[in-house]
Amino acid sequence: MAEKPRSFQEIILRLQTYWAGRGCAILQPYDMEVGAGTFHPATTLRSLGSKPWAAAYVQPSRRPTDGRYGENPNRLQHYYQYQVIIKPSPSDLQDIYLGSLEAIGIDASMHDIRFVEDDWESPTLGAWGLGWEVWCDGMEVSQFTYFQQVGGHDCKPVSGELTYGLERLAIYILGVDHVMDMPFNDPQSPIPLTYGDIFKQTEQEYARWNFDVADTDVLLQHFKDAEAECQRILDTPSDDPKKDMKIIMAHPAYDQCIKASHVFNLLDARGVISVTERQAYIGRVRALAKMCADAFVQTEAGGQAA
């Protein structure tokens, strides 16, 4: 049994090392605002098509409605997810996953680890899968999903997806009560930093902006722009006259889908979307996600012969 980690970043580093050791490509976070690690094209798009795939990465995630000005012990508008995606899902994925818990200091012989039914569905991505939330001593520490469909396409083969809510998990492992008190780097460092030193102020700033200040007219325009640009990119003929080759721009189009989705979340936090409109907006984002998925499966990475 490895020694207990002493900081938030050590937990991340151990996960990186562990999954690298299991053959995953360790990717960097996607450089756009997303609500969850699933939105990273390394998961959404790469779970489509027949090509094998294995990746792991940290993804900063933003959920504007969850902002609590840094006061709630574990609710944040900006937080980190650790995401693992392997296609096809290996038959011993549960065991490999349990190994990762051990790597970050959870001794399975002292804890109560359970796989509790949780069907996953993302209406905005047109995706669903079956799996569990993994409980450790009654706390949800991960989501474990076998993707069945993404962007309206059946996943063949099936990807196994693991998502760890890093702050919550780390609070538990490190035994602190409030996320802001959690050591970010080693407490023995010359300049020890807590999570609060880094994020308390930004939580306040963003919570205020998300809830009260963000310009909704501008956001509404951004939504329309992203939607139109996504459509325009995909409507562009796939043959590039300059390079004289076929280039389907699935990823640039998908960036616009991500953008639309995040703008929708911001509008939701500003409280300007009514219950009935909500469904309509989700439907519009889903339509974009489906178009992007349709485009991606036409590409080489999506399994088409070059």
Partner: protein, 780 residues
């Protein structure tokens, strides 16, 4: 006689699916075995989070051989007939081959195709095809393999999935199949390969406490080895262990576990090796309402609540782990307590925010109900609250409730729907309403009605008895029913998305169990009226707004008195104007909101007959036949369900007696003779039976009996004393029987005949004044 053991070992099966899945496994496999010609002595199925297990005892070792013989068409029959016969035997070939077979058979050959032997036989001088199909007996192992594979491939999971590169579907990835047939000689694996998963004789124990696979040789061996590997196979045994340990530990602390069978079954499906741990709830949260503690612990954490019997307060919790640990669960319990504290901190946050709003009068909640659509054709929750409040005021006097309190209660009864706590825990609606009404220092009856007005929900729910609660509960349900009838969205077949059947049954039970009379048709009218006026007035605009309440009150009173003409000319003009505008749709409004919603007379009658149908179902369960109810529904005042049921009960009691049953015979006989005579003579014999034309003693006696019965029935009916009326009616049995024995109705004398027919008419009239006995289906 071998025994069969099957285990399908997979990743974690959702708790809620386990029981059903084990039953499905048993049914599919045993049905398949029997269909293939095997028999068995007994079967039992089991489930844990990671396995479905089936044990079949005393299976026959092989199926019996069978021989089937079939005669076919004549050898010279048309090719289509020949081809049809061949295909029926599973012999697929082109017609040319069929022709060749027939040719060979004609030449006296016997042909064998697979298991079918074909030859010719002679009958009536012609040659016919004749087939003998021999099914050799098959070994149990072959049949088991075939049946199990079909079962796995077609298993009826509510939701299933693919994994890896495969196409096989199971609830979660299927890892291994144990399938053995065992007898005194030992066990043998039934060979099976399903998409690369091959069968064997090994199983696995607990995920963490046991390591590696174990081979097993029989069911007993399997169950015993699993137990040594920390797996309790039987769900009921796990539940029993949990309940036993939980109650013991609570008892030792002077506490008791709050019983929750659903939760017990669920938790038993989440563990293979239950370990019960009793934990503490942080003092900070003990002030929360017990229902909030219980709901939060159950919904989020699947904890049992443990209460102090002295105070009734929930003070501890029980969690069930799947692990034995070196520190006896200390780490596990500490973790669970920490998670619970975070959850309850949320609940406390909601509770405190809500209390602030409640104490200030709940205004923001009531306002926000205007933004919640109840149904797009029936307006918002706020519209509904207004209608229900008016209706509750209307109903209150009949229920013996204070109209002001009933109105007040209806106005706040839905307020908690906008509270944070109910948003988080929808199951607490109503209950939180009561807490918040108490916090707002509203009258106790109002607070009580906030909780109780949803009742009764299910057919076995308790029915409220407090008058204010009853009035609001009735108004709430009747508003729903009249509303959906007005927009013609009635339940059809199995579709009842707005639970209207349940609402109607609720009204029936509220009225009957409280013994309250309500003239429903009249109430429906009021429900409609309020809808119209409220909707109209609300949309009418500023000029009416000032005297909104007054206009409404006057309209209402005029309507009640059925004197709409009595309102002033000016007011009538206003109403007409309103109605016109409303019908046209108010400018700038959603059309659906500005429509006048009316429940017209046809819809009201239809709604009443919907109530009557629900009532029949309800009374059938209480042992009252549908024809008895029909006989009473045919009588006036049938919209007063309490009265209707009293009548039906009295009639049922009467019919259960010898006199009653025979009276029906007599009544029917009288009615038949009379109807036939009336039809034949083209007149109605309904008046003027005169004692002076009576000749026989039995005839005279019947006159006297009818006089006596009418004297009893009339006043009794007036007083709604149905059993006295029915007793009076039943007393006619003897005289009627005697009359039919001694007297010939169709006498030679026309005067005597007419008089006798008129006498029969008195029987009919007397009996029909009690109930429509023609509806009674009878014993011949």
């Amino acid at each position: 006689m071998p025994d069969l053991l099957i285990e399908l070992f997979s990743e974690e099966i959702p708790a809620r699916m386990q029981k059903r899945a084990s039953e499905d496994l048993k049914k599919l496999v045993t049905d398949g075995l029997v269909e293939a010609g095997l028999t068995y002595a007994g079967a039992a199925a089991f489930a844990t989070p990671r396995r479905l297990t089936l044990s079949v005892e005393g299976l026959t070792a092989e199926s019996k051989a069978t021989l089937q013989e079939r005669r076919g068409p004549a050898l010279d029959a048309k090719p289509q007939a020949i081809a049809g016969f061949m295909r029926g035997l599973d012999i697929e070939a082109p017609d040319s081959i069929y022709r060749k077979y027939v040719e060979d058979i004609r030449n006296g050959e016997v042909i064998t195709v697979g298991e079918v032997m074909l030859k010719s036989i002679e009958a009536k001088g012609r040659q016919f095809l004749f087939a003998s199909i021999e099914n050799r007996g098959r070994m149990a192992a072959d049949i088991v393999a075939e049946v199990l594979e079909a079962t796995i491939r077609n298993f009826p999971w509510p939701k299933s999935m693919r994994w890896g590169e495969g196409t096989l579907k199971w609830v979660r990835p299927l890892h291994s199949i144990l399938c053995i047939l065992s007898d005194e000689g030992g066990a043998e694996v039934v060979p099976l390969d399903i998409d690369g998963i091959t069968s064997g004789d090994t199983t696995q124990g607990h995920r963490f406490m046991a390591k590696g696979a174990t081979s097993v040789s029989s069911f007993d061996d399997y169950e015993a080895k699993l137990k040594r590997a920390y797996v309790v196979l039987r769900a009921d045994e796990r539940a029993e262990m949990i309940w036993h340990d939980a109650t013991n530990q609570a008892f030792a602390a002077g506490l008791e576990v709050v019983e929750d069978r659903g939760l017990l079954a669920e938790v038993a499906g989440l563990v293979e090796w239950p370990v019960v741990l009793l934990g503490r709830i942080d003092d900070d949260f003990l002030g929360l309402p017990p229902e909030v503690l219980q709901t939060s612990m159950k919904e989020h954490q699947k904890f049992f609540s443990v209460k102090n019997p002295k105070t009734g307060r929930i003070e501890r919790f029980v969690t069930v782990a799947n692990m034995e640990t070196a520190d006896n669960g200390a780490t596990i319990l500490a973790g669970n307590q920490k998670v619970l504290s975070a959850r309850l901190a949320d609940a406390k946050f909601f509770w405190e925010n809500d209390l602030r709003v409640a104490k200030a009068g709940m205004e923001p909640w009531l306002d926000s109900l205007g933004n919640v659509t109840f149904h797009n054709k029936l307006g918002s929750q706020q519209d509904r609250v207004t209608r229900v409040a008016a209706l509750a005021r209307e109903i209150a006097p009949d229920i013996g409730a204070d109209p002001d309190l009933a109105t007040q209660a209806a106005k706040v009864a839905k307020a908690d729907l906008a509270s944070e706590m109910v948003y988080e825990f929808p199951d607490l609606q109503g209950l939180m309403g009561r807490y918040y009404a108490e916090a707002a220092e509203l009258p106790a009856e109002v607070a009580e009605a906030c909780e109780e007005h949803y009742s009764p929900l299910g057919p076995s729910d308790d029915v409220p008895t407090a008058p204010v609660s009853v009035a609001v509960a009735l108004a709430d349900k009747i508003d729903t029913l009249t509303g959906f009838w007005a927009i013609d969205e009635k339940p059809t077949g199995s579709k009842d998305p707005f639970a209207l059947r349940r609402a109607a049954l609720g009204v029936i039970r509220l009225l009957l169990s409280n013994g309250k009379s309500l003239e429903l048709l009249n109430i429906f009218k009021h429900a409609t009226f309020f809808e119209v006026t409220y909707q109209s007035l609300k949309k009418f605009g500023s000029d009416v707004e000032g005297h909104n309440e007054r206009v409404r009150e006057r309209l209402y009173q005029a309507f009640l008195d059925d004197k709409l003409e009595s309102v002033s000319v000016e007011m009538r003009q206003e109403i007409a104007d309103l109605a016109d505008r409303a019908k046209a749709g108010f400018p700038g409004e959603e059309p659906s909101n500005s429509k006048i919603i009316e429940i017209d007379e046809a819809a009201r009658t239809d709604l009443l007959s919907f109530f009557h149908d629900r009532l029949k179902v309800f009374l059938k369960d209480k042992g009252i036949r549908h024809d008895i109810i029909d006989a009473c529904i045919a009588m006036p005042g049938n919209d007063d369900l309490t009265l209707l049921v009293k009548r039906a009960e009295a009639l049922a009691a009467t019919l259960a007696t010898d006199d009653g049953e025979n009276l029906i015979q007599g009544f029917k006989r009288a009615n038949n003779i009379l109807s036939q005579a009336e039809e034949k003579d083209g007149v109605e014999y309904s008046y003027g039976a005169d004692l002076k034309y009576a000749e026989e003693p039995a005839e005279k006696a019947l006159f006297a009996a009818l006089d006596a019965a009418d004297a009893k029935i009339g006043p009794a009916m007036e007083a709604e004393d149905f059993s006295t009326a029915m007793t009076g009616m039943a007393a006619l049995r003897g005289p009627i029987d005697q009359f039919f024995t001694d007297v010939q109705v169709n006498a030679d004398s026309q005067v005597v005949r007419r008089n006798r027919l008129n006498l029969l008419s008195r029987i009919r009239k007397s009996c029909l004044s009690v109930a429509d006995l023609t509806k009674i289906e009878g014993s011949s």
